[in-house]
């Protein structure tokens, strides 16, 4: 089975300390006012002893490296793609020109246009750290070990073990667009409405809709040329070209 890097997050362990957010920002030199990951929580602060248990509900998150990545479908050049080797959704910064199509196409708001690089940006599971055998910065730093990272198709990995042992009760953020995210939650991750809708920009829709039309007129033109060529070969020229004698 192909590898699928993913995070299995125990939402009940999250204490909203935001250490993961800070560690990510430092590790990836994310510009001011921009973040690759988050901890979402309900507006009302839970009160201890209140009716309903007053249980805090936090959703640590980031790019979910989906199986049905709507961001990839919105990219015209393949600058963002799903890696067939490890299931990661990758951004090729050399090919990305920062057109911005992928940003509203993510229903979780995981993408942004990096203000310094002027290109799409998001969680990439810290490839530089992984190359040195380290965990992604957010996972490494989490004091309660709420975030577990690894190949969920590998039963030997911690993420795989957690994933396989809890398969039926794992939850995912329920976005209006089903992107099949690879971020799994144990425990209550809070309101379902935390996932939004994938919006493909009108310009990309126009491009997709015009593509078959353009193929059509090119085909028509090609047929015209074939008809002329056929006539030239079968019937010959109708009038002797005087200037060509």
């Amino acid at each position: 089975m192909a590898r699928q890097l993913a995070m299995v997050i125990d939402a009940t362990k999250c204490i909203d300390c935001k250490a993961c957010v800070a560690a990510c920002k430092v590790a990836n030199k994310v510009p001011e006012d921009q973040w690759r990951n988050w901890i979402k929580h309900e507006n009302e602060v839970p009160r201890v002893g209140a009716a309903g248990g007053g249980k805090a509900r936090f959703q640590p998150g980031a790019c979910m490296h989906c199986d049905n990545p709507t961001c990839v479908a919105a990219c015209p050049t393949g600058a963002t793609y799903k890696d067939a080797e490890n299931g990661e959704v990758v951004i090729n910064e050399g090919l990305c020109i920062g057109c911005g199509n992928c940003i509203p196409a993510c229903p979780y708001g995981a993408r942004f246009r990096n203000a310094e690089k002027r290109k799409a940006d998001k969680c990439n599971y810290c490839p530089e750290r992984r190359a040195h055998g380290l965990e992604p910065a957010c996972v490494d730093t989490c004091p309660t070990k709420a975030r577990v990272f690894g190949d969920i198709n590998d039963p030997q990995s911690e993420a795989g073990r957690l994933y396989l042992a809890n398969k039926d009760r794992l939850k995912r953020v329920a976005a209006l667009t089903d992107t099949k995210p690879n971020m799994y939650y144990l425990g209550d991750l809070g309101p379902e409405a935390w996932g939004g809708e994938a919006v493909v920009p009108a310009s990309m829709v126009a491009m997709k809709q015009s593509a078959p039309l353009i193929k059509g007129i090119v085909a028509l033109s090609g047929l015209g040329v074939l008809a002329m060529l056929g006539r030239q070969l079968l019937a010959g020229s109708d009038h002797k070209e005087d200037g060509d004698a």
Binding site: I97, N101, P201, K208, I214, I217
Partner: protein, 239 residues
């Protein structure tokens, strides 16, 4: 006896035509390789993948495409600096259409080239074509498409080039439309290009016109038959 010839293109006209054609060829080849999305890529993902690995990755392909694009625009700037008068003459000829003469010409020519003169006679039409000027309506239509398309392609290309160099996140709606318009304009001009190349290089009727894109001149009788109104002007010296 040397044939009587008429000057049709300046050296700078010939330069810009072939320079443009060479750029177009390379920009098309590299540009199609930059599209990789099953909903839009013209020949599937095999071609972009192959081309990218040939040049050492998508990043290199983008750089190559951008460099040729900038060179293409500079070529036109150079042409305009050298032969602005020629460009003005060209634009005036290309965008002057007299529907009464040109539309029947277009229709009849299309029937003649594909079905032949008998088809026109069957339709009760005179197979003789209305007289044409410096350019015939087919040439004008293609030139109009390639000028309007070319301007759109150049402007949207510059917008995309600057996207990750100067523009901020607030410009992404404009950049997104630049991508879409670039794609659509190239598609439309390319459709016309197929016919242009056939008429200019393959069809025997226009052989002297083809040669003129190297020599700059056309024989008197060719001008008389194909561009009668222009021939009249040249004859009377009232060009």
């Amino acid at each position: 006896m040397p044939k009587l010839m008429h000057k049709r293109h300046d050296a700078s006209d010939i330069f810009i035509h072939w320079f443009n054609a060479a750029c177009w060829l390379l920009l098309l080849l590299t540009g199609v390789g930059l599209i990789q999305n099953p909903a839009i890529d013209p020949f599937g993902s095999g071609y972009p993948a192959a081309l990218r690995s040939l040049v050492g990755g998508g990043t290199n392909l983008l750089v190559i495409h951008e460099a040729i694009g900038v060179l293409w625009i500079l070529g036109f700037v150079f042409y305009l600096a050298v032969n602005f008068k020629g460009a003005r003459f060209f634009l005036a000829e290309v965008f002057t259409v007299s529907p009464g003469r040109d539309l029947p010409w277009m229709f009849k020519k299309m029937v003649l080239m594909t079905l032949g003169p008998k088809a026109l006679k069957t339709m009760g039409q005179d197979p003789n074509l209305p007289e044409q000027g410096y350019y015939n309506m087919g040439q004008k239509a293609f030139a109009q498409a390639s000028i309007v398309g070319g301007v759109i392609i150049a402007v949207t290309g510059v917008v995309m080039l600057l996207s990750d160099r100067t523009f901020g996140a607030e410009s992404t709606v404009m950049i997104g439309w630049a991508v879409a318009l670039h794609f659509i304009a190239v598609g439309v001009v390319f459709a016309g290009l197929l016919v242009h190349i056939y008429m200019a290089a393959i069809s025997p009727e226009e052989r002297p016109g083809f040669r003129s894109m190297f020599t700059g001149v056309v024989p008197d009788d060719y001008a008389k038959h194909h561009h009668r109104l222009w021939w009249d002007k040249v004859r009377t010296g009232g060009k």
